[in-house]
Symmetry: C2
Subunit: 229 residues, 2 copies
């Protein structure tokens, strides 16, 4: 026979990937707080695998910046450093502005409608004063814009940085003014997307993320001297 059997969809994923995904989720969701030690014995027992793939997962997560490897003292969940947070948000701003441009050019109408749906969900949560719900849909919108840019490198990079930033939970005391302003900005962003106005969306997203950064910096009390963010 000369036909090929397609390589079995996903019979089994490598254990180190499985482990990395599970730990990553625990970290990003906040179940594993910054500074928490990642005890190998406990985690191998919890995940039902051996130390080898677990330790491989540690290395992957360290490369992503979610975990810190201390020589001879194992791995801890990386601390949320105010300066690094600010720097990351600055970079995310540039990335998302670029993503917005591409999304204007490449996104299908169906994809824009997905974003519109999320937008109205978000408005609903804002109207109710539900910050957590707002936050969730807000995140989803930003991620969709980046995804529909069609640039996979951009998407991967952005998501990784978002994983670091999400842990900060700085939104907890978002002021009402800033919240309302953000909603206004989102309305404009949606309009620009619908109009496929790349220049405008770039400017809007750039400003939107700059405001977000400013509000985070205010929250943190501007601990850094230089303006690298």
């Amino acid at each position: 026979m000369e036909y090929m059997q397609q390589p079995t969809p996903v019979l089994r994923r490598p254990l180190h990937e499985e482990a990395a995904d599970r730990i990553r989720d625990l970290i990003v969701q906040g179940q594993l707080a910054p500074g928490t030690r990642l005890n190998e014995r406990l985690l191998t027992a919890q995940f039902g695998l051996s130390r080898t793939p677990l330790r491989e997962a540690f290395k992957v997560l360290a490369t992503e910046g979610l975990v810190e490897l201390l020589p001879n003292r194992g791995a801890i969940v990386s601390q949320i450093d105010a300066e690094r947070l600010a720097q990351t948000l600055a970079v995310m701003g540039a990335l998302e502005a670029l993503a917005g441009e591409f999304a204007c050019l490449n996104a299908t109408e169906a994809q824009l409608n997905e974003i519109r749906a999320l937008h109205y969900e978000m408005l609903a949560h804002h109207a109710r004063g539900d910050l957590a719900g707002y936050f969730k849909f807000n995140q989803a919108i930003h991620l969709k814009i980046v995804k529909y840019s069609g640039n996979a490198v951009l998407h991967t990079t952005y998501r990784q940085m978002n994983g670091y930033v999400r842990r900060a939970r700085y939104m907890a005391n978002l002021s009402r003014e800033r919240w309302d302003a953000a909603i206004g900005e989102h309305n404009e962003i949606l309009a620009a997307l619908g109009a496929r106005d790349a220049k405008r969306i770039k400017a809007l997203l750039s400003d939107h993320l700059a405001h977000k950064l400013a509000s985070v910096l205010a929250e943190l009390g501007r601990p850094q001297a230089k303006q690298v963010a």
Copy 2:
């Protein structure tokens, strides 16, 4: 006694880091061509370590995108995909434009002088028609600008992408016109840096990288349909 002995500078680095660094260099320098299989037995023999840290290094390099892990078939040097290359260059453009702004604000005069020195070295190689020498100093200048932005996240991200891109060696047949134009752009960039003109350097770097991208796309024959780069 209550004094602390400082934690020994670097008595020994973890083996997986050592291995990752060595393999990364081999890949970025082009000694290990895209598609090359990374045989564990050979590499452990060559590096004088066991499979465990070597395989950890593979996972790190896979996370960085330099290596691809094929289930049950080990690791290969990742292929240079034209689309991914274009997407990466687009992202690097946005990153470097941002870096330029920060560098204008943060770089010391001494740091600018370093960049000036590299610039003149580059001009010398251009004058001699030495493409390899030009390429080397051109790279160095761009990396310095990103470094002196003072944004470590930006720097790390940019360097990682640069590692992927460098392997393409697309500069091999840079046209004389484009080369001369690039030199002109670099002169302007240097002037804007010296003048600490953030707005201008952002525009200049954005254009400069867009031109670079265009020249690479021309080289590759524009294989992608959508404009995601």
